[in-house]
Symmetry: C2
């Protein structure tokens, strides 16, 4: 959410000269996405996002992410393809960082989606999964269910600094989920982070799906569970908008109707999504200085959502009782 690496106008003009995209007209560092540096770049011909990949995105994963963008763009999804240079290369080095030039998409990210917007977004997720049926790439979900226990252990008892009792309760929830995790459900390539931030809209029309840097191979329905948890609650995780959640599912079901088994597994998958974001936010919280300019996201906002998805589990957890 900041510009970590400065790129001078001169260096940017030299970089653009590798491509057939026109001459530099404007460049602004933008505060967007996971921990990358992004510039909104305008040339005499078009607009682009230049992304420099900082520590969170591994350079080795870039070919996977870019082939995913290309695949989805080729299938007509509103996904920004990476631009290849005169030699056909899309992955470059800029100021010592791996970097890509990606087409700019219009649209804004809503903060409080309406049901109509959620219906469109659920529909877009379904279309995306349908388009990915023949995508050959594979990538482990390094924030997936098998990784929660190790990340939990790395956070350790400091979790109690966030909320007294959180260390015990999160351990209980992770163990509970491990016992019921629906490993048998269909797997595919998922976005894994399709928050409202990562969907561009104009009114009720989807104009862009962005920020695929958590994309991976995992349970297909888990992607909808992540979206449900991200879209249908207020910022504190206490108020739930059932109409928004239902609209997401209805939009998605146009492409992948939910089976009886899907429906029974869904609350568990959603609790899993809550644990995943509670854990990553807790880790960031415990490892980000309070006075840093990056806004630390409240880890408890996702933890509180567990109450809605599994009241029986929540009743056994003092931090949620």
């Amino acid at each position: 959410m900041a510009v970590y690496t400065q790129v001078s106008a001169e260096a940017l003009a030299r970089f653009l000269a590798r491509f057939d995209v026109g001459d530099l007209v404007s460049a602004k560092g933008i505060a967007e996405g996971v921990e990358n540096s992004n510039y909104l770049v305008e040339t005499t011909r078009d607009r682009f996002i230049l992304t420099l990949y900082e520590r969170r995105v591994s350079a080795g994963d870039l070919p996977y992410f870019l082939s995913l963008l290309d695949h989805l763009a080729a299938q007509g999804l509103p996904v920004p393809p990476a631009i290849a240079d005169a030699n056909g290369r899309a992955i470059h080095q800029v100021e010592g960082r791996p970097a890509c030039l990606i087409r700019f998409l219009t649209g804004v990210s809503v903060s409080n989606p309406t049901s109509a917007q959620a219906l469109a977004a659920g529909d877009a997720l379904g279309r995306m999964h349908a388009a990915l049926a023949d995508f050959p790439g594979q990538r482990d979900n390094n924030m997936g269910q098998p990784h929660w226990q190790p990340l939990y252990e790395r956070c350790g008892t400091s979790l109690d600094d966030i909320a007294p009792g959180l260390h015990r309760d999160l351990g209980v929830a992770i163990a509970d989920l491990a016992a019921i995790w629906p490993h048998h459900l269909p797997r595919t390539t998922i976005h894994a982070d399709l928050f409202p931030d990562n969907v561009l809209m104009l009114g009720e029309r989807i104009t862009g799906l962005i920020d695929f840097y958590f994309a991976c191979t995992d349970i297909r329905l888990y992607d909808l569970a992540v979206m449900h948890a991200a879209w249908s609650f207020d910022a504190t995780g206490t108020g739930h908008d059932a109409a928004v959640g239902d609209a997401l599912v209805a939009g998605y079901a146009r492409h992948f109707p939910l089976s009886k088994e899907d429906r029974s597994a869904f609350p568990g998958l959603a609790v899993g999504a809550c644990i995943r974001f509670t854990l990553s936010r807790a880790w960031d919280w415990l490892n980000t200085p309070a006075d840093a300019l990056v806004t630390r996201k409240d880890p408890l906002a996702f933890w509180r959502r567990v109450r809605m998805y599994d009241p029986a589990l929540a009743s056994r957890l003092p931090t949620l009782a």
Copy 2:
């Protein structure tokens, strides 16, 4: 250089509805300018910068800054005018902050200006001063010469944490300058911060003068001295590009030829500019946590420039010897 205040797409759309500027199409938080939050906003009709003024800009000064932008835009300078709403108001409140919508200008800020670019920039400064001859606004330069001693005293002996001996040497330089400061030279409205960052260019053409939030009434020639110190050195303040400095002066002299008195006062004004930026950077350095995401600018980069402008003074200062 970061987005301090988040503005949701919904709030932004409501804000834009006050104006006759079309509907929201895109919005990106941008990393630009002094300590304000800036968004690059695109509507169905045009592009704008939305600025939310954070602590460094006083709300009471906004009418002065906006009338200055309007005056310069009306005179044909490449300055972005603030947009008035349906009721003629240009100063608004957004998320509890004073805010203005300003026209977007294309162009990029160069990092290593050429002589031709410096000539154009010096010319633009001269045109700006000529256009300001009948501007009635007045504002004290709160970073001007009379304010250096108090700011120096607030920094105190911590200055020696930046470089051993800096506290003594800076005190000597401030006292020296106070004795020779050319108070009698003509005064006007000056930009006071026209670094390469604040000039937008396309090739050798000036497309924008921006970030007027240090503008004030002070010695006219001091503005050129600030520019000279900002434009004609490398980032460390040791390498001086005389051709770039000469080009700035030559471009400026097309509008305001330098008198003999101007020429003899110029090195002192430039040393003053070096002191001003050494002091403000030292203050920020001493008051910004080392791990904050804002890049702290090296206070010594401006201090080292004193060597070029006044070798005799520098020879008496151990930190510069």
